[in-house]
């Protein structure tokens, strides 16, 4: 009986494998792709882009922690990606506000003035 309890405790406290984090990142990226493809609201499209950026960040940090030759540098790259994503959100929302002011809509299906 204590053997099974010990095994259960061991199974519950085991470290998840690297592939677990990678698959979670891949699924989150796919959900972000789905949102970018189907949503009509430009602000929600931005949110889905943020989801994709976070999925890639998770992959970077997982590699930095699991691969011995990575030197832990993935964490530093993730910090830079966060900074660049923050800049992207600021400029993107400014563009959305400018488009809304002139077109009175943020529906990406109706903003077709750049169609060739």
């Amino acid at each position: 009986m204590p053997l099974q309890v010990q095994q259960l405790i061991d199974a519950l406290t085991a470290t998840p494998p690297l592939e677990g984090y990678l698959v979670v990142g891949a699924l989150m990226f796919a959900i972000g792709v789905w949102g970018v493809l189907i949503r009509r609201n430009a602000v929600v499209v931005f949110m889905c882009v943020e989801l994709m950026i976070n999925a890639v960040n998770l992959t970077l940090v997982a590699f930095a922690d699991y691969l011995p030759n990575a030197g832990g540098l993935g964490v530093s790259y993730a910090v830079l990606v966060i900074a660049i994503a923050a800049a992207e959100v600021a400029v993107g929302l400014a563009i959305v506000l400018a488009v809304f002011r002139t077109r009175r809509t943020v529906n990406v299906d109706e903003i077709t003035s750049m169609r060739g």
Binding site: G20, A26, L27, A86
Partner: protein
């Protein structure tokens, strides 16, 4: 550890799905912050507590507030039907996204990661700081990247102000037309 992993996985993926299929845009923003919190938990599990703090401060705090700010400026109240928020590519988009997700998951898990073992990350915040400033060996490129990122943030601030600046006589609440 594995319990926390599955809990965070469920929280992250369910919240991410909530962002996509929620009818209310404000709910989408709040689901997004829940998903970011799950990612911050993953960072703690991956020996990067300083990065988890950055994630909570920047994403759960600042980016979510910025999104809510944008929603308040641009949205009408809640959409009644899915047809008004989702375009006609619902099933095609699901097919493409499933294909992308399965392909990535297959490629990443079919690869044999030699010597993959937890605990190689910069657990100490001081080590992360040395990496980020390019002081430690092998990380010299970060001296340049750090400066480039700071210039980029400055440019983004100025650009955001210029783009969203309202010129005199233009815009919504001048009362000229409408």
């Amino acid at each position: 550890m594995i319990v926390a992993f599955f809990f965070l996985t469920g929280m992250t993926l369910v919240s991410a799905l909530g962002v996509v299929i929620s009818r209310n845009v404000v709910h989408s923003a709040l689901f997004m912050s829940g998903s970011f919190l799950g990612i911050a938990g993953f960072y703690v599990m991956l020996n990067a507590p300083a990065l988890a703090a950055f994630q909570v401060l920047i994403y759960v705090g600042a980016v979510t507030v910025l999104m809510l700010f944008g929603i308040m400026f641009t949205q009408r109240p809640q959409a009644r039907r899915y047809r008004t928020i989702i375009n006609r590519q619902f099933w095609a988009g699901l097919l493409v996204a499933t294909g992308v997700g399965l392909f990535l998951a297959y490629v990443l898990s079919a690869e044999d990661w030699v010597g993959a073992e937890a605990g190689n990350g910069p657990r100490q915040v001081a080590a992360l700081g040395r990496d980020l400033l390019g002081v430690s060996s092998g990380a010299e490129i970060f001296t340049l990247l750090f400066e480039v990122a700071s210039v980029l943030l400055l440019v983004a601030i100025v650009g955001a102000i210029v783009i969203s600046h309202r010129k005199a006589g233009e815009g919504l609440d001048t009362g000229v037309e409408e």
